[in-house]
């Protein structure tokens, strides 16, 4: 199970809104190499991990990815607050806004909704490890 800590892992304090940037950054939430995919990847792969150390690291990295997702979402949330209709239209944020308004929806910058098709969980630790390195490139 999980317990929530009511804080971000690192502060997010955005003073100036920027819907154009939000349109790009949202890929780090719901895109093919985003944090939701990372969390789901590790938390799915951990069950069949071969050793206690690998079980522990997949468990704890998968958990930490959720806190990365929370920070990315906080960035998007703060970048898009109190926009005027003119700002929404001129920034190109209108194509997102028409379906989701200011709601946080896991989607790539090019508009594909989050999909588990972006990762693998094979039950084979070597195959999974290669998949992790390809996706995250920081699992050292």
């Amino acid at each position: 199970m999980w317990k929530y800590e009511k804080k971000l892992e690192y502060p997010v304090r955005i003073k100036k809104t920027d819907p154009t940037a939000a349109k790009i950054i949202i890929s780090q939430f719901g895109g093919p190499d985003g944090e939701l995919g990372a969390a789901t990847r590790y938390l799915s792969q951990r069950y069949t991990a071969p050793t206690p150390e690998v079980k522990a690291i997949l468990n704890d990295i998968g958990t930490e990815e959720l806190s990365h997702m929370e920070m990315v979402c906080a960035v998007i949330y703060q970048l898009t607050r109190s926009l005027t209709p003119k700002e929404i239209k001129e920034s190109g944020f209108d194509v997102y806004f028409v379906d989701h308004t200011n709601g946080l929806y896991p989607v790539s910058a090019s508009g594909d909704p989050f999909s588990a098709a972006i990762f693998q969980s094979t039950g084979d630790p070597i195959a999974d490890l290669y998949e992790d390195m390809g996706a995250d490139a920081t699992i050292t």
Partner: protein
Amino acid sequence: MNERSKLLKKVQMYSFAVTDASLFLDTHPDCAEALAFFNKYRKLYDEAKAEFERQYGPLEICSEQNAARWEWTDGPFPWELSAN
């Protein structure tokens, strides 16, 4: 930066050290140096967290701050500008 943000930053800093050390320990469970680092920052984290919670409310469900009144639902929530 206001006093709340300063204190929260301290909690976040120690919390990050604890998290990072724990990930290292997962694959190096017998590393005494890493465990000493973890213990040092866990203590600092616990102290900073308790100080923050006394002044600004609970960071966890089981915090003492929830005992007399359910402060958990008080804002701001972490993703809001005023919480940072």
